[in-house]
Symmetry: C2
């Protein structure tokens, strides 16, 4: 296997920003928030550590950061985690990066008492491939709220039970 | 009507902390996070304004703060808001405080382009009264994830469409 997963460190920020800006499926607003979570996890700014923790894993491939994911223990829950962001390099698709990241996330959460992993994604047709990816990894669609992101764009809740 | 709703100001913090600690339905952990959101909205600490905004309304009754609620525009959505916390004084139940707060929240969100208001609550039997309250206000149960808070304790998503 050519993918190597490790926890992120501060010097990964440039590569992660590049991933987000070039992945093609994140708005500027989403990328900004993703980087804000990364900075809480790895940064030394005023919010570091204050808002809880957002563990971030990166996937190296051929010595470069080719994917990353940010997760977090869900507040007020005993063993629920959220997958907040996951991205892989536009030029490294079909290399199993997303699959390997998800497997590592599950191990990471399980090692800390995690029992389920939840993510929210769009129910729009455009995201059919994304939803098929999550289903292939082990997530199950367990709920939806119509017109959540905007009129005609529902949120879909995916749950992976360990 | 004896209830007067206004936006919170910094000096409401003591009364809000008292509400949370004595309401009887918040864990210490939940109260701490509720105050953290209040401090982001009203405080002058290092996180003020950094993590987005959490508008907070208080309900005065007989000149005292007898209830409060914290809401927020849901990130990445066009017109969705979340109700994060709502509490009323243990000695002022049945005074319409929760109902009046919810009506004011709806007006507040609608005036800012809000189209739906979402909240998450427990599906346990213990919270049957809480869920009946939300249903009476106008919320509809639109989804649920089993074992979310802990084994046997599902999250229920309530949605109020304006």
């Amino acid at each position: 296997m050519d993918n190597f997963i490790r926890v992120a460190v501060a010097r990964d920020r440039f590569a992660i920003e590049h991933l987000l800006r070039t992945a093609g499926n994140f708005t500027d607003d989403e990328s900004d928030v993703a980087l804000e979570l990364f900075d809480i996890y790895c940064g030394d700014g005023p919010t570091a550590g204050l808002q809880g923790d957002y563990p971030t894993l990166v996937c190296e491939r051929d010595g470069r950061v080719a994917g990353y994911a940010t997760i977090g223990k869900t507040p007020f829950t005993q063993g629920t985690w959220h997958l907040y962001f996951i991205a892989s390099a536009a030029n490294s698709r079909r290399a199993g990066i997303g699959r390997d990241l998800c497997a590592a996330i599950a191990d990471f959460a399980k090692a800390r008492g995690g029992q389920l992993l939840v993510l929210e994604t769009s129910g729009r047709e455009l995201y059919g491939g994304t939803r098929a990816f999550y289903a292939a990894v082990g997530f199950v669609e367990e709920g939806s709220i119509a017109d959540y992101y905007s009129v005609g764009d529902p949120v879909v809740y995916f749950v992976w039970r360990f």
